[in-house]
Amino acid sequence: MEKEKIRAQREFFLSRALGKPIYDRAGRSVGRLRDMAVRWDNHYPRVTGIKYAKDVQMLIGIDQIERWDESGIRLGVAFPGKLRPGSKGEQRPLLRPLSKEEIYVSKWLLDKQIIDTKGSKLVRVNDIMLAWIESGTARELILVAVDVGVRGLLRRIGAEALVRGRAQNLVDWKYIKPLESRMESLRLTLERPSLNELHPADLADIIEDLDSASRTRLLAGLDRQTAIEALTEADIDTQVEIITGMDSARASKLLAEMPPDEAADILGELPEEKSGELLGLMDREEAEDVRELMEYEENTAGALMTNEFIAFPADITAEECIDRLRELAPSAETVYYLYIVDHREVLKGVVTLRDLIVAPPRAELGAIMRTRIVSARAGDNVKRVQEMVAKYDLLALPVVDDQSVLLGIITVDDVMETVLPDRSGLESFTDFMTRGRSRRGWRA
């Protein structure tokens, strides 16, 4: 790369530049810097033009600027008289309207919310840092960072001196992702993948903080798998809002791809009519799985479990089992325990992944399985489940009915969620009524 050739020079803040006077070559006043247009087709947006008057939708191209310093902006060309909209002179070619690939910085970025992918959170743009960079003979003005701190805020009102000593709170522009739909017209091929690279749990936090319109846009911009994972990680209220806000066909498709226990939780929160409709649109088998899970009382093992698990008959060999596992593993919630069931699905034993790997390839699962199984009944309460998982150091706990028929499994991460106190959202003071109800308790 030609990195060493690129030199950043003279960084400055947008708030200090706005309002600066603009002069032409002869020193005559043209207007004041009102806004800048940028092209955001790389990590760092480039300034392509400046807006010189409030009500004029025309830009002066960046290449017309000869000098840009503390005292103002000096153009390299002469303007006979003031520039006015509609005035038809020979200077018109110098002015051009905003193109489709450009956005206004002050109007569409400043004060808005954006995603900081490094800190994985929503931030508000308090100020923007720009810099002139030189590579070879070309000189470019780029946006280098977003100021999300108090200093930026005070700088805007001219009171930065109050906090001189405090550190700047800047986010490098390469970590910045826009939210607004204006960006859709931009070529963001470079940018798109990195939202998908955020951890789904971080994405879920961002989604929870967004308004409903931005949520839809953000979800639409993610790839399918990431969108489903992020939705799975979001809190129940956000999930319900997103599902309710979608048309039924899309909603049922999303639900079908989520783990059935999460889908059941969401459907349990919806009015019966709506959940019935969504279940009706789902694949019959998947709908059946979800429906089963919705039957269980809240705070029981049954409500906590998922019925997607891996079970094998006792008479296959370790080798066969590993082959089958290769096919099943990508979609299974956990692969560390393999449950052994008979033809009536009665739980007979468990084989850990370690047991399986160290077993001779020809050994039958029935011979290597452990028969002393720790399991929960579907009606057991959550407290008991927590105790069992903690006491026996389990990664997953099988759930059985009275006849020992395997119904599902509870993975340790589902148990963790019940242990940690739920402090999600602002519900406690803006909407303490409708949110406080239990997950799917009193709908009776």
């Binding site: 004060d111 508000r124 805007r156 406690s428 003071f429 803006t430 009524m433």
Partner: protein, 418 residues
């Protein structure tokens, strides 16, 4: 809906609370300590004279609250978010300073309500106020105040008791009807102060922020908005109805016997026709409950709006070191609110009334921005205001500014308009 009585009292209560929407919740929080005090003083001092205000005021309240709720449903954003994005840093700082002042006044008045009600029960404010402040503060820090608030909210239905008490006080109904229908006006400072306080407590600036974020938080979109509109109208109507009864009850029991309100002891007399010697207890309990409800909501929501508008981390799902400004602001708010009430000899009812006057003075600042936003087609699309709505809200704004200026003028130059 299945019959409530079949479900049992606890589930019935939960169901009732779940049905209540943002409009009715806001309305209930609106009848806080400052509200009760202002309505009582209105009736006691001016009798039935200000009853006519309730008709235009109810209309204005409905219009203003509906606009805010509609903005929440259409944009999915809070009011402070919208103001920041549309008007930039300077304006949002100004609005936040206004909100901060109004809500600090309100918080002080909530603690005044705590002090006034506990003193009725013979408990010194020097014990009650710090203890209550600590409890309120701790509930938020521990993250477990949700359920407690729900109980407060339910108990605020207690104010419905003003309605039978009014009837039992046998007010002069012909006078009530006359003053309700026939506007009267006076340039006396007392009259103007109470009038501004009355409007300020009923249409307080925090309510627009509050209802909008409640609508957003509940995920209400334009599709379900028609139910929310009903809920808002019903809530506003309820607030004003109860307020009008408090004024009438106070007028019939206090003004008729020339009793002035100096402390909660006199205000409580409005319950006497209903509760006899239990009136003090009833009033104390009601005032205490209303004060606690609002004291647990206002400081927290104020800290939240301010941090969100300024782009700082906020929300009780964050830890203290993740959102230090938010928690410190909240803590300082509660501490200052309670601290001011600890000043020896501070007139509690005076504090409650004057904080509501401050609300009234500051209301136009917020209304101007709401009106600008709600009429912006880029933000609201086809859901901008109708002409009638604009007329009512601009009139409210203009009237509040005119009243404030008049009050200031005649305070500085007494006898100017006499």
């Amino acid at each position: 809906m299945k019959a409530l009585w079949k479900i049992g009292p606890l589930r019935g209560l939960l169901l009732f609370l779940a049905i209540m929407g943002p409009g009715i919740i806001t309305a209930n929080v609106d009848n806080d300590a400052g509200g009760i005090a202002t309505y009582s003083v209105t009736g006691a001092t001016l009798g039935y004279k200000l009853l006519w205000v309730f008709i235009p005021m109810t209309l204005a309240l409905i219009v203003i609250q509906e606009m805010s709720a509609r903005m929440g449903a259409v944009t999915g954003k809070g009011l402070s978010d919208l103001i920041r994005e549309r008007f930039g840093v300077r304006v949002i700082l100004l609005v936040m300073v206004v909100l901060l002042m109004a809500n600090l006044g309100n918080t002080v008045s909530e603690f005044a309500g705590v002090a006034a009600s506990t003193e009725l029960l013979g408990i010194s404010k020097y014990i009650a106020v710090p203890v209550v402040a600590l409890i309120v503060w701790w509930m938020v820090i521990a993250g477990s105040h949700k359920n407690v608030e729900r109980a407060f909210l339910f108990a605020s239905a207690l104010y419905l008791l003003y309605i039978p008490s009014t009837f039992m006080a046998r007010p002069d109904w012909s006078q009530v009807a006359g003053h309700l229908a026939m506007p009267s006006f006076s340039f006396e400072p007392v009259y103007l102060t109470i009038l501004i306080g009355l409007i300020g407590t009923t249409i307080a600036p925090w309510m627009q922020f509050y209802i909008q974020s409640a609508v957003v938080e509940k995920g209400i979109t334009v599709r379900e908005y028609k139910y929310t509109r009903l809920d808002v109208i019903l809530g506003c109507f309820m607030t004003c109805l109860i307020a009008a009864f408090i004024v009438t009850a106070s007028a019939a029991t206090l003004n008729a016997h020339d009793i002035h309100i100096e402390t909660a002891r006199e205000a409580a007399l409005a319950f006497r026709p209903l509760a006899g010697r239990w009136a003090y207890l009833l009033f104390a309990f009601g005032l205490f409950n209303a004060s606690l409800l609002s004291a647990s909501i206002l400081p927290l929501s104020t800290a939240y709006y301010i941090c969100e508008a300024l782009g700082l981390e906020a929300g009780i799902d964050k830890r203290w070191n993740e959102a230090p400004v938010f928690y410190w602001m909240y803590t300082v708010f509660v501490a200052v609110g309670a601290g001011i009430i600890m000043i020896p000899g501070i007139p509690l009812f005076g504090v409650m009334l004057w904080s509501q006057v401050a609300n009234g003075v500051l209301l136009p600042f917020v209304l101007i921005f709401i009106l600008n936003l709600v009429n912006n087609k880029d933000i609201m699309g086809s859901y901008t205001n109708s002409r009638g709505f604009n007329a009512v809200s601009w009139a409210t704004t203009a009237i509040m500014i005119a009243l404030t200026l008049t009050l200031v003028a005649i305070t500085i130059f007494p006898g100017l308009l006499a």
